[in-house]
Symmetry: C2
Subunit: 192 residues, 2 copies
DNA sequence: GATTGGACCCTAGCACCGCTAGACAAGCGA
DNA sequence: TCGCTTGTCTAGCGGTGCTAGGGTCCAATC
């Protein structure tokens, strides 16, 4: 059995390598540069090996998205944990979210823009995605205000951050005023 | 001279045909189905003809974006014109914006998601794009509130709508609650 | 009206993409 | 030691955006 275990270990290790390499390449040169040929060359295997781990390129994107989602949830929780008071937590959350998006654009795209073949907002949504939303909900739910469902408020605040993140990065919003935009959102949307 | 004029007319007409066909194909089957081969076949010319009008596929997307941008500005102005009072105008604007995004997903993507080689938020930004932003500014600028620049407020409100539009369409926000989300934004962000 | 020049368009092909069939080698169990 | 399974690679399919080069047709000139 030991042989089989070793093989499984090595296989799992190679899968991690594929995902890490795809992510690295995407962050360095953008997702359009992540081709199966380049990816195979970087991990020093032939193309078909990729397909013994993933159904296709889409699933690789999905794997990066799940990994990134876990990290984002952690980043948001870490930022909100040290803040005192509901509004301060929301402010910290917003900064952390946009900071993550700016520092990890390719990962952010994998989670929120590209098609990674993942189910969103459903029962069979992968746990990391659910948990990332939960991380937002923890700080945003408490400032939804009367008559507004915490989930709905979280969705709207999240969507606003998403809009700022994506429009800024694509150059459709002038760069540099992000902090002012965050303050406007944090001032007006939440209710103590 | 008449011959040359006729040729120029025909050439302009063919260019319109290319843009219209690209748009139609994109709305029918998505932008990934808009290939230069299919596009050429539909307009009943060979591929290289496309390149005598546009530098490449990107520029065709850009042309669709400019056309759509003009339409969106008109749609927003039409919706806000009949509304009475600042908040009602904002509400009408939000509905019109999301309605346009939902009815013309491919055009919306050309304007706000894809790379059409256009300059945004700069001096040399094409007029239709500037005007679309101006259309938003006309109704949103008046509810920015004290100490908030109308442009900044418009950017933030727009980004929020953009987030709702894109996350909903990609299935990352559950469908159906759009009206509630709009009301939340319209209730909280503007200041009379 | 014939000739010539140039504008115009098409065929064919480049390098690349995601993905897969089938040959082949390596290593395990009998 | 042999047979077989498992795993990997080479090669190739149909597609992509884009372009070089040849041929055709038509307008202007003599």
């Amino acid at each position: 059995m030991s042989v089989q275990e070793r093989k499984e270990r090595e296989r799992a290790e190679r899968e991690r390598l594929i995902v890490a390499t795809a992510r690295e390449l995407a962050e360095q040169q953008g997702w359009e540069a992540v081709t199966t040929r380049r990816l195979a060359e970087r991990i020093e295997y032939s193309q078909p090996v990729l397909y013994s781990h993933f159904r296709g390129k889409r699933e690789i994107i999905g794997a990066v998205a799940l990994q990134g989602s876990t990290e984002m949830a952690a980043a948001v929780r870490a930022a909100t944990a040290t803040a005192v008071g509901p509004r301060a937590r929301v402010h910290a959350l917003a900064r952390a979210y946009l900071d993550f998006a700016e520092r990890n654009p390719a990962v952010y795209d994998a989670i929120f823009q590209l098609d990674g073949g993942l189910a969103y907002a459903q029962e069979d949504t992968p746990e990391p995605l659910k948990d990332a939303f939960a991380a937002l909900l923890e700080s945003l739910g408490e400032v939804a205000g009367n008559g507004i469902a915490p989930g709905l408020f979280t969705e709207v605040f999240w969507a606003s951050l998403h809009g700022v993140a994506t429009l800024t990065r694509s150059g459709r919003l002038p760069p540099g005023d992000t902090e002012a935009r965050v303050e406007l959102l944090v001032d007006r949307l939440p209710v103590d």
